[in-house]
Symmetry: C4
Subunit: 499 residues, 4 copies
Amino acid sequence: MGAMSLIPEQLLAQHASRESCWIVVHKKVYDITDFLDEHPGGSKIILRYAGKDATAAYEPIHPPDMISSNLPPEKHIGIAEPSVSAVATLQTEEQKKRELLLASRPPLDEILNLHDFEAVARATLPDKAWAYYSSASDDEIAIRENRAAYQRVWFLPRILRDVTSVDWSTTILGQRSSLPVYISATALGKLGHPDGELNLTRAAGKHGIIQMIPTLASCSFDEIVDAAQPKQPLFLQLYVNRDREVTKKYVQHAERRGVSGLFITVDAPQLGRREKDMRMKFVDDGAGAKVQEGQSDVKKDQGIARAISSFIDPSLAWEDIPWFRSITKMPIVLKGVASPHDAILALEAGVQGIVLSNHGGRQLDNARSGLENLVDIVAALKTRGPWPNPNFSVFVDGGVRRASDVLKALALGASAVGIGRGFLYAFSSYGQEGVEKAIEILRDEFEMGMRLLGITSLKELGPEFVDASALHAKQAPQDNLYSATYQPLRLAQFRDSKL
Amino acid sequence: MGAMSLIPEQLLAQHASRESCWIVVHKKVYDITDFLDEHPGGSKIILRYAGKDATAAYEPIHPPDMISSNLPPEKHIGIAEPSVSAVATLQTEEQKKRELLLASRPPLDEILNLHDFEAVARATLPDKAWAYYSSASDDEIAIRENRAAYQRVWFLPRILRDVTSVDWSTTILGQRSSLPVYISATALGKLGHPDGELNLTRAAGKHGIIQMIPTLASCSFDEIVDAAQPKQPLFLQLYVNRDREVTKKYVQHAERRGVSGLFITVDAPQLGRREKDMRMKFVDDGAGAKVQEGQSDVKKDQGIARAISSFIDPSLAWEDIPWFRSITKMPIVLKGVASPHDAILALEAGVQGIVLSNHGGRQLDNARSGLENLVDIVAALKTRGPWPNPNFSVFVDGGVRRASDVLKALALGASAVGIGRGFLYAFSSYGQEGVEKAIEILRDEFEMGMRLLGITSLKELGPEFVDASALHAKQAPQDNLYSATYQPLRLAQFRDSKL
Amino acid sequence: MGAMSLIPEQLLAQHASRESCWIVVHKKVYDITDFLDEHPGGSKIILRYAGKDATAAYEPIHPPDMISSNLPPEKHIGIAEPSVSAVATLQTEEQKKRELLLASRPPLDEILNLHDFEAVARATLPDKAWAYYSSASDDEIAIRENRAAYQRVWFLPRILRDVTSVDWSTTILGQRSSLPVYISATALGKLGHPDGELNLTRAAGKHGIIQMIPTLASCSFDEIVDAAQPKQPLFLQLYVNRDREVTKKYVQHAERRGVSGLFITVDAPQLGRREKDMRMKFVDDGAGAKVQEGQSDVKKDQGIARAISSFIDPSLAWEDIPWFRSITKMPIVLKGVASPHDAILALEAGVQGIVLSNHGGRQLDNARSGLENLVDIVAALKTRGPWPNPNFSVFVDGGVRRASDVLKALALGASAVGIGRGFLYAFSSYGQEGVEKAIEILRDEFEMGMRLLGITSLKELGPEFVDASALHAKQAPQDNLYSATYQPLRLAQFRDSKL
Amino acid sequence: MGAMSLIPEQLLAQHASRESCWIVVHKKVYDITDFLDEHPGGSKIILRYAGKDATAAYEPIHPPDMISSNLPPEKHIGIAEPSVSAVATLQTEEQKKRELLLASRPPLDEILNLHDFEAVARATLPDKAWAYYSSASDDEIAIRENRAAYQRVWFLPRILRDVTSVDWSTTILGQRSSLPVYISATALGKLGHPDGELNLTRAAGKHGIIQMIPTLASCSFDEIVDAAQPKQPLFLQLYVNRDREVTKKYVQHAERRGVSGLFITVDAPQLGRREKDMRMKFVDDGAGAKVQEGQSDVKKDQGIARAISSFIDPSLAWEDIPWFRSITKMPIVLKGVASPHDAILALEAGVQGIVLSNHGGRQLDNARSGLENLVDIVAALKTRGPWPNPNFSVFVDGGVRRASDVLKALALGASAVGIGRGFLYAFSSYGQEGVEKAIEILRDEFEMGMRLLGITSLKELGPEFVDASALHAKQAPQDNLYSATYQPLRLAQFRDSKL
């Protein structure tokens, strides 16, 4: 059968087993029998859709062209007959409750800050999506410390300066931005909203800020670029493929389509253990499971993150940087730097910038926050030439909730700040309008913050506006698993415990 | 019609729409049709009273002469007929409960400290008043840190000194005060008590302390001065108007009426985002609101604070100081200084003092507390001449609850300390008697504290009486919005969750 | 009538008013009409017993001879007829519950540590007694910091030393003590147990430790000394009377009766505001009170502490020390030193020691803990001669719950440590046996602690056994009144709050 | 009667009193009348089994040969007739609930981390076992600080290194180990699982890690060695007996059986007071107890720990080290070092290593954590020669829950890390499979952690990978007993408390 054959329902039904497994995605029929055991999410989840239409389950967690580009042509069986319908997804109690919650969510003009979006998202997102978005690695120390670090920097505002006109626009890698903030890459946007990352593209275009397109977007790269306005600046986040040709094609395609900055993720040779996400797996599939006999396979059952990331190349090294330089003229930024030594290496390697980040707490737990590293790294970079260096930008991401956080980072030397989850939760709860509202809130906060700091331009910011003396004096957030397990001592007990 | 015309009810009823809107305030009829869209609180709230008597709603949040002085004479329509009655304000369940609470509030002699007033006020104030008084900006970090800062200074008392007679009186800007404390300016006193700021004036006069009259008082400036005793010292807090002539008139009038100190607020080119206050707005008006389509207007709906402060001039700058010096002979104090650089600039500008303050946490959140800044600023001032400087006073406000707090600030170099909310809550819960009780409590605490410190006069205080070594080692108060949103990790779950 | 007259019930009944008020205490009839307004606890409480037997109420809070020694002889009316009976004290619900609790209290061998005594006392003491014993001043910061300070000192134990035999006895002011601990003075022991301070005397005698007799004991000084064993060492705590002759008589009487150390309290020119105790006052008397009109009298209604302490002389000064030296040969120790300057002054004044104490947190709140002051004071004393100084002892009290606490203080330079509430709660809950159990627990903890530290004698202790580097890095305990009043921010609310 | 006599039930029944007490253990009959008062656990518990079979109670807390080796031969009465049955142990409600919990415990593949094992063990272990395993000394400060210390060390990961192949194996005292982790000794394994320590032996053998055999194992030494695979490396933990011949025999036997490292416990001249364990004692036996009259005997009733440890020699000293060197060629390691002085002494004494440990918080409470001591001790050792020293290893134990903890310790200079409770809880909840799962989890965490740190071999680790600047800035964990007793201040109360 060729790709054009019409496949009737009965025929499909004959290929609904581990021995021969066909599935329908976007009306096309694929034979994935040989692929079953390689599916990063396990074969079980696919076999549920054997001989049926799997589009609804496939869509939020795979780029649209993944199956068609990766399966060899001979496995493209044909087109499903129109009568083939998706596996009926019954509306569960949870879904019903979520729909009521969505209908009851606060009106957008009652959203006062970025925390509010997160609270709405937590209440209204499907559990699996919330688990994937909100989870971080191991004990989730780093994700919380990212936020806490900002609370250890305090303001020393100036007074009696004319702040009638205040300008919070800036330039990021040569591109104008209406805010000193860019939208950082986060994966799988369709888990949160049917339009996925397009919500970000459209809002960013309308309000003049820059979106970084994720490699692991739910929407395809081209869909996203197509949704952008003419000349709307876009960056690209890159997970480097074990097959460098794939990466080369991807990067050069992006450059041709006008992307103006390449952010290579360097803190993820392997994706982190995110236990919230992993636990969700069990809620989903494990109801009937028993205590396994024999050696269990740790590699299985590790949530969405690992399932979608097996292509990432753990051998990526400094030696690869010249090659990247050779395949693109875009500014190159290394995303996920923590050590001052690596910051210097990056400068010497000739890239255009670094992002101080611990990947939103999703990679190495207990890694210091970008904000804390910023102080040490700026100090290190100052030993290597004039500062700020117009050819080398330092960005920070992780834990930002307020424009005041951004102003702190800028005062300490950052060029701009990335916000990921903040915008993700905004569109998850309110779509494009949510993202626009988030931008407006930030804008309002920037105006307020700059006026109250006594500055009219971001260039005036410097370390004298903050007291960061307590920044290194961090305490870890509560160790929740340990606390839940430790049994506190009791006092001597009265005989009659009802008294 | 002239200002003297008698306007009958029926005629009023014909001007009860957006097209033609008359309202009655203090028996006078005004045409505010053209003003509807400029009302900082929005037009909706006014339209409720179109063609009716709005006095009850108008009074607590506007100075009595605001409407008459600001509306052009041709909009002064006349006098309402006596039969025109106020919009009936139904007694809500909340009001009933509050009246029961008021009747049940603790007897005044059970009020042991300033916290108690705040607790009574929280329980008995209308929600809107509590929200306006208690709110602070953004995450309310600064307001809580103001309090916490005092807890990082510890006493090293001295012994075996004759403390039979202890004197806690002092001089503030040349005026005698029975306590080293002045009543700091807080706005809209009638939200808390029908007599508003007069409660403070009368109690201050009786007990020999100094009140700072707020620009945004509910009572008019002259009402307040009229309530004072002859020669009772008063200070004036000033928000500088975009129209300097208005300011000049106001300041010179104050000086003529005997005010003896001018405190120019310099930390509020724009009033802060106070989300508790903003949320209250939605409770009040938003019950039927829907998720707004399209771009919402962030500038709307921002609570009382912004509504009443649009006249404040964000261009106020150091260059204006000589002009102030030229229009008044009163001592000039800059209220809201944080940076040692600005403290030096103030000294050089020839003003008579500064107030180290973050505006009770209501302006720039995350700004350091006045107490913490005090240490650095006194150190800076010492580099510029003998200290203490009889011509330059350093005041502190924010977070004070006990005389012991004041003694700490004095030991670290403050001339006197301002208390705002403490007195505000005192009269909100018990009127003038509450304020007197608060003064008595402080007096009692000063006597105790000084005896136990081993001093008989405030002049003996100095840094050797305190251990402030931990003052800079601050930790932010709990980030409540973040904590409410973060979902803690769970341990592995038992199959049968009822066990 | 003479002191021997028999007063019949009817006659008493005629003197039951403010105009003529007789009361019976310990069978004797006194005319206290003139004294009514001078009673530190107010006249109201006395008038309840006018014309009746007041012994039960009088006893726990007055030394037995207070009324007889202080009333002039002509007011000693006579002896009450045997038929005169005490005011019937109805057993309240609270008392019934307490008796059930007492019957149900944990058996003594389940008491594992000093915390346990406190927990039993809290549950079983009359509210008034608990309030008086447990209360501390103002926000009760100092009392909790006293405990917390010990938790900032950590052990660095040594190994491989023969610890078969371990000796934790020591010498305190030349007297042998089986533990490096003395029983510090606490007032009004009969509030907790009918035998009051005698419980301590007997247990101390049996186990070879030293009791410090309080000036404000419920038992008379002589009762206590009579309860001691021959040669049992005792110390005396002294509140200095405004009338120095009273003090002289008291001190010299003590010396004659064999007391071997005089601890002059120097941190209490006035007794602290203890709000728990003050609140209890209102529970007791205030049920029918109304919000007072006019100026309330702060000085009234301040709990037991101030009521019993009005005789203390606030003029006590360094100049008085030579006089004390002249009236007694006992070693003199100043109790309540905090400042290194005062420690040096004490050394120079020729006294034999100092107690680093903030009076169990009951005097100046926010005063640093004795343990923290110890480090600075030992450092200061070392600049004035060889250390340890055999003629000058440094004691510490406050916050001790474990022998390990004592070992920390000794390692940092203390000669011995005072425990007050620990023993007070022990006899309040279990009488003399409780105190003995407390001593045994400490003894067991000393054996364990010394063995595990690798020492056999207390003399081996020194600063190298502890890490006190974090001792000064204190954080204040929770500000409970502030926390109870502050209203946390809320997130945006869903429309349907039941979801 | 000889050891071979068959003892009928009736005869046994005649020896069922304090006067003559026979018991049956493992079918053998012993006369323990003379031993009753010496039984460390008290005589009462034995008398329950007088004349009966006590095996079930005896087994989990005594090594199998304890009674036979310690009772003189003439007390070995004979063999019980087969009809003699064990005291029926009724299944209590608690046991029933526990069995349901065991059946409902999470499937092993839902165990994601070592915390999970602890949570399952807490829910499913008998109360007595949980109390014994989980308890620590005094206020349980040290046990919690052990965990907290790891949270004060943060990572500074490196990037862009090829981490395709990562190797986390190492050598411990010359033995290969697949992880830089050994199983530390914990006592009484059969309290948790019928196979006791054999679970560890088998899992360790299968996965190539090293078990340290405890002196106080429930299984006999030989049982454990017999369960090992050929050449499986094993270490021995040693409590030194007062009778050195016993120790010599034990050590030399171990060496002959192939043990390759001797860990002499030096922090336990006496076993610590573990109040959780002691309280359990009362729950078990104390139901009918009354408040004891007279002096209670603190030495009684101190839980399992002291009961089983009375043989330990408190005189063990540095002078004994040469003797140990003389009786064995095994590497000798001192377990329980805290002070840098002792670390130097150990080096000079010629032993092969030290374990920085506070005995899992079970000995001296408030002792600093091994991790914190590591930094100071490595610094001290560096002053005595090249570092790392191939002939002197520094191990750490206490508080480890994640491979990331181990990586921190290694970065700071540790050779390997001991985990005790982690593996104990693993087999308590899931037997040998639990231990294997724990090893797999660690292995997975090591792979992840090393990749994300940017290293491929443990040798690359060094202090530049961590920020330990806050390690010494510790705060004590909550003082639970104090907090449970302290009564917070209240605000003034409203009259009608229902409002």
